[in-house]
Symmetry: C2
Subunit: 389 residues, 2 copies
């Protein structure tokens, strides 16, 4: 294995605080695990949780994990899966890249670790890489993920921007994936409003993906955080995008899909949110727009909440209850007063008897309604009878 | 009261079939009730249901209804409500108008009576006036009500027309209210497709409302039916529009709201449908369009089903199950095969070991996936290894 001093040297500024030898070896072991596994590897999650990252790794190196923790075939499959990645120099190399990119390593042992991801159980990340302020990640738990199509329309980008700006004004953090389209519109509006925004990435943080968002990612890191569970030097793949989506869902109080095609990756994020018991919102759009087809699908198939305003999104996360605000006005009730008004004219004065006949109400009822309508200034009376004011 | 011969003369062609004296007096009594009450009068519904229309009317004339059927205060209120409308000549006059307009009178005793309205209980209509084919009213029970804003946008009218045309092609009757906007678009598309459409009106059928739809209403009557529970000569009032909406909801298998403002009358129709246990669909639109705000409200507050295509509407009424058709394709599952494909390149050939390392899978798993991908023609193999085809 590795000695604590070398681990301390290689981790360097990636970790903070005075750490014991055990603490430093635990973090180093998590980096090794990170290099061996793909995101969401349940066998790795179970082993590190049961034995600690360092001891679990020592057992893997001895080829000795087939005990009560995993069953024989699972253990064998896991070892065969991890073995091809055990190559000398991999960890030293990725830590060099991480130091050069000025990243922070955050593990379950760190106070900045977002407890929300533990809801993923065995599929929780083993470690997180961060650019920016690691404390903002936990803040996302009361925030909203605004996600959607890369191929967004101007309608979708407009709505994403409006929602993000208004939620930012309410002090609500915005989580997204830094992609083209909806993601970028949400991040940009949050930055413009001086709010806190967190970007979850599908590859190593030493470079931005997409490359065209290099400056956007810099700006997010400068005020919020850019986060990935994928180690530096590892490229974003389709699998890693799908697993990244589970982190977007887990870190936020609710996921709102603004625009999404029929098979958009954003639907995957919404499904993760659903599985985690997080609220899901979908923004409707024209049924003639392919970019809204996925949102409508969420409304139909996943019973997502239809959200049309930032107020709807605040309601989704229970923000109104927290603030003691009331909902929208209740619908007015149609009463006998409506029937009395129907029976009145602005032109012709009518007697109470005539109004009773026309409204199908008794003269007594008509009189009492006319009294109230008169007080409200809705009707006027003269010698000929009643008329609408 | 009235003698059977005079009733027979006054009803004339408004009723059909050889009718007994009791039968003719029952129908005449229902016309009298119709002239005394506003739509949805529960006291009238309970009395006619309990005693028969003729006997109930005789009791009202004697001022003797305060027995076990209605409680004293209800009975007194009802008599006071009906009394102002008991004027000589009213019934003879409205029957004259009805004959001139060539209407049909349909009562619960007629085979054309649509049983669906009996779901309204005490609020069921006492009689229906019909232009066109009274048998088509019952056909509406397997049909769809397409309703919405008068102030519709071209988007809403387009969707209403598309839905109606496609449903018509499936043989599904279309119910609506003959208003400007969504209603007219639905009726017109059904007529253009040679389908059956039924219009529910809020006033007497001797003239069309709105007047600009005189020709449209003629065309609906010529192939389907135009229906009202409001007697000839009675004007449409706000109350009667709201009560008309309950008939649209009751007569159809589902109510679909295409466009509706925040306080649109179409929401009232949807609420009636909900209360009656009928399915409700709402067509989404841009959140920036006031004409879709009511639809989004139904999705949020009434748990309406989001419908974006005629196929969605057919599903709403269970038409697919009837026809033995399957739903849309299931979502494809992301599997380890995706991870293997992620690890392949079109440019560079890679060994199985290399693919295992990149995908985070064992070499055994990689080999089995490569075998399947090879059979599918997704990958090719040469001396250097595997690559994407």
């Amino acid at each position: 294995m590795i000695d604590p001093q070398r681990a301390r040297d290689e981790l360097g500024p990636l970790v903070t605080g005075p750490l014991s030898d055990d603490g430093i070896l635990d973090r180093y072991a998590r980096v090794v695990w990170n290099s061996l596994t793909e995101p969401g590897d349940a066998a790795a999650g179970i082993l590190t949780e049961s034995l600690g990252a360092f001891e679990a790794l020592a057992r893997v190196r001895r080829g000795d994990i087939g005990d009560s923790i995993l069953d024989q075939s699972e253990a064998r499959a896991a070892l065969q899966r991890w073995e091809p990645r055990m190559r000398p120099g991999t960890v030293a190399g990725l830590l060099r890249t991480a130091r050069a990119a000025r990243l922070r390593l955050v593990t379950p042992a760190d106070e900045e670790w977002p407890d929300a991801v533990d809801d993923l159980g065995a599929h929780a990340p083993l470690a997180l890489w961060v650019r920016g302020d690691p404390r903002s990640i936990s803040a996302a738990r009361t925030g909203v993920a605004i996600v959607g199509a890369r191929a967004a329309t101007s309608y979708g980008e407009h709505v994403a921007g409006e929602f993000a700006a208004e939620l930012t004004a309410s002090g609500i953090p915005i989580v997204s994936g830094a992609a083209f389209g909806i993601d970028a519109a949400a991040h940009r509006a949050t930055l413009a409003g001086g709010g806190c925004t967190i970007a979850l990435m599908a590859g190593g943080l030493e470079r931005a993906y997409p490359q065209a968002h290099t400056e956007l990612v810099e700006r997010i890191a400068a005020t919020g955080a850019v986060v990935s569970e994928v180690a530096p030097g590892f490229a974003p793949t389709k699998w890693r995008f799908l697993q990244r989506n589970r982190l977007i869902a887990a870190l936020s109080a609710a996921t709102v899909v603004v625009e999404a095609g029929w098979r958009s990756g954003s639907l995957n994020t919404a499904h993760h949110a659903s599985a985690l018991g997080r609220a899901i919102g979908a923004v409707p759009g024209p049924v003639t727009s392919a970019a809204s087809a996925g949102c409508h699908r969420l409304l139909r198939e996943l019973e997502a909440t239809c959200v049309t305003t930032a107020a709807d999104v605040r309601e989704l996360i229970g923000w109104g209850e927290l603030m003691g605000l009331s909902g929208r006005d209740a619908e007015p009730r149609t009463t006998d007063a409506t029937r009395v008004r129907d029976a009145l004219s602005t032109r012709v004065a009518r007697t109470t008897q005539e109004i009773a006949r026309r409204s199908g109400l008794s003269t007594g009822e008509v009189q009492s309604h006319l009294g109230i309508l008169h007080l409200d200034g809705v009707v006027t009376a003269d010698a000929g009878g009643w008329r609408l004011a």
